[in-house]
């Protein structure tokens, strides 16, 4: 082996190390679908509670969405590597889910929950979780979602019932459905690019 080919081989190995380390750090599961699923779950709960006048609408829909998320996440994430960032993000969203359930369910049962309080709580909490997640991932689009949720929380404190409902429905549409679909498209594009790089 000449010194030139040896140098090329060594450089190739250094490049291999760098690309593989980056590959491991970049690999994340697909999470865009969870936003869409929860967006749909909120709409189902709102429609059921409004049209069916049922107190069970929210708890039943939320528990069903939680079980569905847990099943799908365990199936999709089975072959994904364990990463500190993934665990940190999961912790934020799991803690958020438990906090909302623990707070909103007793409020609903005790009859002390009104539309404005609930939307303000949900908006502030979802804003916090989206902001935390966006700062960890350095994802500006998700921070924009956090701002929309915070805006809906503030709006709920000052606006009428109708305006609060419209603000909440619009926040769900933009921050759950639109953002979720955008996330899914981005993930698919990234996977395609990665596949092309490996080929």
């Amino acid at each position: 082996m000449t010194p030139e080919t040896q140098e090329l081989d060594l450089q190739e190995r250094l490049n291999l190390i760098e690309s593989m380390i980056a590959e491991g750090r970049r690999s994340t599961g697909s999470w865009g679908w969870t936003f869409v699923l929860w967006g749909v779950a909120y709409y189902v709960a709102i429609a059921w509670a409004t049209l069916g006048h049922s107190n069970l609408a929210w708890p039943v829909t939320m528990v069903a969405a939680f079980i569905l998320t847990a099943i799908l996440a365990s199936r999709l994430g089975r072959n994904q590597p364990g990463r500190t960032v993934s665990r940190a993000l999961s912790a934020v969203w799991i803690a958020l889910g438990i906090s909302m359930f623990v707070l909103l369910l007793p409020l609903g049962i005790s009859g002390r929950a009104d539309l404005h309080t609930c939307v303000a709580i949900v908006g502030a909490m979802l804003g916090m979780a989206n902001a935390t997640s966006s700062i960890i991932l350095k994802w500006k689009m998700q921070f924009a979602c956090a701002i929309v949720w915070w805006a809906s929380a503030v709006a709920a404190c000052f606006s009428s019932d109708t305006q609060t409902s419209i603000a909440f429905l619009a926040a769900i549409f933009f921050c759950q459905i639109v953002f979720g679909i955008y996330g899914m498209v981005s993930e698919a594009r990234e996977n395609k690019l990665r596949g092309a790089t490996h080929a």
Partner: protein
Amino acid sequence: MPELPDLNPVIHGKLRLACLSLLSGVEQAEFTWLRARTGSTDGNLGAQLLKLEEAGYVTAEKKFVQRKPQTIYRMTESGRDALTQYVQALKQLLGGAI
């Protein structure tokens, strides 16, 4: 003139180097994920990972998830040290070549 370092032969194999580098960026990884990322075959990857395991650079944990066998690999501290030293040696050799 300073003496040029030797490269660790256990890590020097390209597939073993790729596996160790991948594992350095994650906490743990499943066999199928490593296979997908390296584009290697089951047999070759298994053999190379066994060599890394015998050298004490990775640990393997076998378990069943929903009745399907899974092997989870983790990089050990000595594996991390070995990779760091390997990279330093590579850089030193490349520096010497330039």
